[in-house]
């Protein structure tokens, strides 16, 4: 993991807390940006690097959980580490269920926060990788012909070429060519690999 290419966002209305958190993250070599409100964070242009958001629950105007919801609605999947003044269990449960990485009560152990940040950034990095992989698969999938897209789910469902030919009313040889094209275009090394790709793309035959 290249830490120079990651970023920590800190949103807290208390300037001294922002400064202290920025200083702490920087002490372990992490870059940080601070924001005094959720709206300021939303308005800001964020670099497209693996990142983690440290978010105070109680904020003026838009609260931490409100920001979490807005980000989810906007499909911005940035890992969130919540900070709160007092341990409110129902709120922490809701936040974690909604995808928060960690829910820390102020004042917290620095290692807990740093671990959570590392975990968040790693999660984001993986998510970004996954996102890129799926993006690639989708691009590959879009290069398939309509006939190949018909053949694809039947192959991953485990049907033999003969059975597929019967279902589609084509010759077994033609299906064999299509199958080869799908494997090549989707860059699948084996049938098992193609099955995993199908799962990731959510591809399945119309019958099922």
């Amino acid at each position: 993991m290249n830490e120079m290419h990651s970023l920590v966002f800190i949103v807290d209305d208390e300037p001294s807390v922002c400064t202290a958190l920025k200083r702490l993250t920087r002490s372990v070599g992490l870059e940080a940006q601070t924001f005094s409100s959720a709206k300021e964070f939303l308005r800001a242009k964020r670099p497209d690097v693996p990142s983690c958001l440290i978010l105070d629950v109680r904020l003026p105007d838009l609260s931490g959980p409100d920001l979490q919801r807005e980000l989810a609605e906007a499909k911005i999947n940035i890992p969130i580490v919540f900070l709160t003044g007092h341990g409110d269990i129902p709120m922490s449960v809701r936040a974690i269920k909604a995808g928060a990485v960690e829910f820390l009560t102020k004042p917290f152990k620095d290692q807990d926060l740093l671990d959570a940040i590392q975990h968040g950034i790693e999660q984001d990095r993986l998510a970004r990788l996954r996102h890129r992989e799926i993006f690639e698969m989708k691009r590959q999938y879009e290069s398939l012909t309509p006939r190949e897209r018909e053949v694809f789910p039947l192959v991953t469902d485990g049907f033999l070429n003969k059975q597929i030919a019967d279902q589609l009313g084509a010759s077994e040889k033609t299906i064999k060519v299509h199958r080869h094209q799908v494997m090549q275009k989707m860059k699948a090394e084996s049938l098992a690999h193609l099955v995993r790709i199908a799962q990731k793309l959510g591809v399945s035959s119309p019958k099922h």
């Binding site: 209305d13 208390e14 001294s16 807390v17 400064t19 202290a20 958190l21 200083r23 702490l24 920087r26 002490s27 372990v28 109680r58 904020l59 003026p60 105007d61 609260s63 900070l83 003044g85 007092h86 102020k106 004042p107 917290f108 620095d110 926060l113």
Partner: protein
């Protein structure tokens, strides 16, 4: 005896009848004549004696006595003439003649001597004239007397009338006197029997001259123990050393009346809180004749007032603690923020210093931030401690803007929690007020909490709390807490300050009533009014502390 025998013995002489030859006719003539003369002579002195007895006013009455004696003696000689006709006692008859002579000769001599005096006696004519004159004079006198009597009668009648009037006046005065005495008696009894007030009189120098039941009850002295003593024994030693008793009399004599409240001492040494009024008493010539002093024992009232004050303070404290309880979470958040900064900065320092070439400037900044945040947390905690500490209210000079600034950090958690933005319009160089800092903080805190609460249901407009301090008229200042909340329900505006009146589901209804009582004990006024736009404004006015003495 010999002489008497001698007198009555004939001694040989012949009776005188022999000279008349015992001729019966001659003897009869002499006897009858001499007897008649003797009888007449004996009767005359009796008549004379009767006359002078009756007429004591007749002059020279001793002369009548002499005549009487002389005539009596003459009568005796004539009787002796008759006696010697038959008895020859010529010695006796001679001696009788001698006695007659002795009586008649001085009478004759004295009569001669008396003559000029007798001649000087008025004549009957003169007497008549004089009597007539006198009668005229008497008549005139009588007329005058009658006239005088008439006048006297008139005058008497007049005097009688005057006297009657006088009697009536005297009776009236007596009645008035009696009424006055009765009234004085009633008044005296009234004063003496009053138990609730000590009523006493002092002479001009302050010695007790009268004492009532109330004085005995309140001060413990009996009348006979205290009358004549100086009234300064009712004062405490400190007051006596400050010459308060003398000053009170001085003030009363100059001003006419002097009222005072303070601790006084009973006979047993215990103290009581008294209200005393000393009034100077002056006579018709404006001379000071003494003082009346009325003392009322207010110890119970003072204790009750102090108990009430203590209860009020206790209640205010309770309400404060409850408010602090309500906002404890958000206050904890306020303290937690600087603590978080402290911990995070400290950790950052550790990590920076653990590195190979630590950036010391960065470390210094972090340490400075730690100190700043720690100080801030401490300040918030001491404000909380001041608010929940139980102390009797103490009024000091203070700037109400400072009080507002002290409350703001305590509410910022609640403001953030309820997404309320706060604006302040604090009047620069506001005059000071005399007040209890904690209680005034409590009022502002309470009004802010109410304002925040009033805005929680507002979704369609900004939740704005405006705090404004202003000068009103120069000698007063106001603090207004304006919200953009739901506003006042018209029917509740008057009741919101009542104790236990609340529109909140979790409210006790004490905040506003206590706030109003706090402002009123500061000589101010607290009220609520609807805004022109949405929401309401709660406002209080306090008197400014005079600048001249500030």
């Amino acid at each position: 005896m010999n002489f008497v025998n001698h007198l009555f013995s004939p001694s040989g002489f012949m009776p005188h009848g022999y000279c008349y030859l015992w001729r019966p006719d001659l003897i009869s003539l002499h006897v009858v004549s001499d007897s008649l003369i003797a009888l007449a002579y004996l009767s005359i002195p009796v008549t004379l004696a009767y006359f002078i007895r009756k007429r004591k006013d007749v002059p020279f009455n001793w002369m009548f006595v002499l005549f009487g004696v002389f005539i009596l003696a003459c009568g005796a000689t004539h009787l002796m003439e008759v006696w010697t006709l038959w008895h020859a006692t010529y010695w006796l008859s001679g001696y009788v003649k001698l006695v007659t002579a002795l009586a008649s000769v001085p009478t004759a001599i004295l009569l001669v001597g008396l003559m000029p005096h007798a001649l000087a006696l008025p004549s009957p004519e003169a007497m008549r004239l004089e009597i007539a004159e006198r009668k005229r004079a008497q008549d005139a006198l009588l007329t005058a007397k009658n006239e005088l009597e008439l006048r006297v009668r008139e005058r008497t009648a007049q005097l009688v009338r005057t006297n009657e009037d006088l009697v009536a006046v005297v009776a009236q005065r007596e009645r008035a006197d009696q009424e006055l005495r009765l009234s004085e008696e009633r008044f005296r009894l009234l004063v003496e029997r009053v138990e609730d007030y000590a009523i006493l009189m002092l002479d001009p120098s302050g010695h007790v001259t009268s004492w009532n039941v109330g004085a005995q009850r309140i001060k413990g002295y009996r009348a006979d123990e205290i009358i004549g003593k100086h009234y300064s024994c009712f004062y405490t030693e400190e007051d006596v050393n400050l010459h308060k008793p003398e000053m009170a009399l001085q003030a009363a004599s100059v001003l006419g009346r002097f009222a005072d409240e303070g601790w006084r001492v009973r006979k047993d040494g215990s103290r009581f809180w008294a209200n005393a009024v000393i009034t100077a008493m002056r006579d018709s010539e404006d001379q000071l004749i003494g003082f009346s002093k009325i003392t009322h024992d207010l110890t119970e009232r003072k204790r009750a007032a102090e108990a009430l004050e203590a209860t009020r303070a206790e209640l205010a404290h309770m309400a404060r603690v409850m408010t602090m309880g309500e906002i404890a979470a958000s206050i904890a958040h306020e303290v937690n923020q600087p603590l978080t900064a402290v911990v995070a900065n400290a950790n950052a320092c550790s990590r920076l210093l653990a590195g190979n070439s630590p950036d010391l400037d960065d470390v210094r900044e972090a340490v400075a931030d730690i100190a700043e945040a720690g100080t801030r947390a401490g300040a918030i905690i001491s404000r909380i401690r001041a608010l929940v500490k139980k102390e009797m209210p103490e009024k000091t000079k203070l700037d109400i803007n400072d009080v507002v600034q002290e409350v703001l950090p305590l509410t910022s958690g609640e403001l953030a929690k309820h997404r309320v933005s706060v604006q302040t319009e604090l009047f620069p160089s506001l005059p000071q007020v005399l007040g209890d800092r904690v209680q005034l903080q409590q009022v502002i805190l309470n009004l802010m909490m109410n304002a925040i609460e009033a805005m929680t249901s507002i979704m369609d407009r900004p939740r704005v709390l405006l705090l404004r301090t202003q000068v009103q008229e120069s000698d007063r200042l106001s603090v207004a807490v304006q919200d953009s909340g739901a506003g006042l329900e018209p029917g509740n505006t008057a009741r919101i300050f009542d104790t236990f009146f609340t529109t909140k589901s979790n409210g006790m209804g004490m905040g506003l009533s206590i706030s109003r009582s706090i402002i009123e004990t500061h000589g101010g006024r607290l009220w609520a009014e609807p805004n022109d736009g949405p929401g309401a404004t709660f406002q209080f006015i306090l008197p400014a502390y005079p600048r001249s003495t500030a």
